[in-house]
């Protein structure tokens, strides 16, 4: 318990350092653009692949579980759309990103710590926490909503393709279903969740990397911890946010 409180304290001290005024805004801007490509654009591929198959499976599952003549088939499209937008595209994507981006951030920053690169920054009078972490946070906050939108589109596409190829639903019914009683707020809700998750992934992973002590072994451990802690926090906040935003 004491260890936990200490960690929590350290985490907020780090955040305070991260959000202090940048020394050279231009350099931070360049770093942010760089991180956007590195952490964001490079994740488009994996997110697309996963979303595609996720959408496909959800459609088939919904179809096979609702094989009932009085149940109109367009509802398959509707159910598929809602579960993708509400849960899968934001939460599952976040969990995937926690694995990919989180471990990446923790090991990058952790390596910089154990090879004295962070010392070198501090030594020069650079606020290392802010310089290293702020661009990553801003980049993921800006880019991850886009990833979620991509995920939603690709997943629905995957659902459509799987559903029509397997013959469980006609193309017309599916398209009718995904348009039927559409609530735009669900998209907003999904984006809000994504923003929270992006912040969790980046800051928690950076925290684990930033305070590494030791050598490459500890860096490895830190990146595992980063993934575990951010995943658990994502699931926890998923419950909290769902309660707050949809009740």
């Amino acid at each position: 318990m004491l260890v936990f409180l200490r960690q929590l304290g350290l985490y907020f001290i780090m955040l305070k350092k991260v959000f202090s005024k940048p020394e050279k805004p231009l350099i931070y801007y360049q770093q942010t653009m760089h991180e956007m490509v590195y952490l964001g654009v490079n994740s488009v591929g994996i997110i697309s692949i996963i979303s595609f198959f996720m959408g496909a499976v959800i459609t088939l599952q919904t179809a096979y579980n609702t094989e009932n003549p009085i149940y109109p088939t367009y509802l398959i499209g509707l159910g598929c759309r809602d579960s993708i937008i509400l849960e899968f595209s934001s939460t599952i994507s976040a969990l995937i990103l926690a694995g990919k981006v989180g471990s990446n951030i923790a090991s990058e920053i952790g390596t910089m710590r154990v090879t004295e690169q962070i010392d070198a920054l501090e030594m020069m009078g650079v606020n290392s926490a802010s310089y290293l972490i702020l661009p990553k946070i801003i980049a993921t906050l800006l880019f991850n909503p886009l990833l979620t939108l991509i995920s939603i589109i690709v997943a629905i596409l995957g659902g459509w393709l799987a559903g029509t190829t397997a013959g469980v639903i006609t193309s017309e019914d599916f398209i009718y279903g995904i348009q039927y009683a559409f609530i735009p707020y669900y998209i907003t809700y999904s984006i809000i969740k994504t923003l929270f998750f992006a912040f969790i992934i980046t800051s928690v992973s950076a925290f684990h990397g930033y305070f590494v002590e030791g050598g490459s072994l500890e860096v490895g451990r830190a990146s595992t911890k980063a993934v575990v802690y951010s995943s658990v926090l994502i699931l926890l906040f998923n419950v909290i946010l769902t309660q707050l935003l949809l009740s």
């Binding site: 020394e23 050279k24 004295e116 690169q117 070198a120 501090e122 030594m123 020069m124 009078g125 650079v126």
Partner: protein
């Protein structure tokens, strides 16, 4: 001039630096020597403020450094250059970007001016035609030299080198030592070098302090070090056969 007074540093209750007082002189290469684990790196990092000492004072000229806050320290830090034990080059930057980094962060120079300065510093440490390489593509000795170039980019008044020549072949090691000494004289810097290499001591040790288990045991010059009667120091110095020979030939000559 850098003055350290009664410096103590503990880690988790374990005393690592025990009441160190020493003055490092301007325009000279000041050496901190001692066995592995004796506290050299901790001393150097305490001086530059990367470790907070438990108590004691660190003076840069007439400024009490360890009382300053982050912003005030920054002004002095801009006058410091440091070479870390493992070079600590930023591995996401090229050689050129590494050396340019302090200029980017702390000067308002144009890109041409900065590039000119970068090339000057790199030439000074004999790194040419490697501007676009990444640290992972350099040899250990080249990394150290690039790190020196980065350390001198802002024309520092104070230069700190943590084992600049460990892990290098003897010839490269001597070249790096000489480079540090030349730079120190050329820009009349206050230079502190950590080392356990007796060659460096003999070559560039204008002022030497010897640390053993966190205690300053001895202080003097490279001329005096071979004739000390401090037993712990002698054990350290004459572990090296070259130094042994040097001493015996000197004794023979004087007989």
């Amino acid at each position: 001039m850098i003055r350290v007074e009664n410096l103590n540093k503990t880690f988790d209750g374990r005393l690592v630096l025990d009441n160190i007082s020493v003055t490092f002189e301007t325009g000279k290469t000041n050496l901190i020597i001692g066995r592995s684990g004796s506290g050299k790196t901790v001393l150097l990092k305490s001086i530059v403020g990367l470790h907070e000492p438990d108590n004691g004072e660190i003076w840069f000229e007439d400024i009490l450094f360890n009382n300053l806050d982050f912003e005030e320290r920054k002004k002095i830090r801009e006058q410091m250059g440091m070479l870390f034990q493992g070079s600590a080059l930023f591995d996401f930057f090229t050689v050129e970007q590494n050396v340019r980094f302090p200029l980017d962060m702390f000067t308002g120079k144009t890109l041409e001016e900065k590039t000119e300065r970068v090339n000057f510093c790199l030439k000074r440490v004999d790194i040419i035609n490697s501007n676009k390489l990444y640290p992972s593509e350099l040899s250990g000795g080249m990394k150290k030299r690039v790190a020196i170039a980065r350390a001198i980019a802002l024309n520092p008044k104070y230069l700190f080198c943590d084992e600049p020549n460990s892990g290098l072949d003897p010839l490269t090691a001597i070249l790096i030592d000489e480079l540090i000494k030349e730079l120190t004289e050329e820009y009349s810097m206050t230079t502190i070098v950590n080392t356990h290499d007796m060659n460096s001591v003999v070559e560039i040790g204008e002022k030497v302090i010897f640390i053993h288990e966190g205690i300053k045991c001895w202080e003097g010059t490279n001329k005096e070090i071979l004739h000390s009667d401090n037993q712990i120091l002698n054990d350290f110095v004459f572990a090296n056969s070259l130094a042994k020979q040097l001493k015996s030939t000197e004794n023979n000559n004087s007989v």
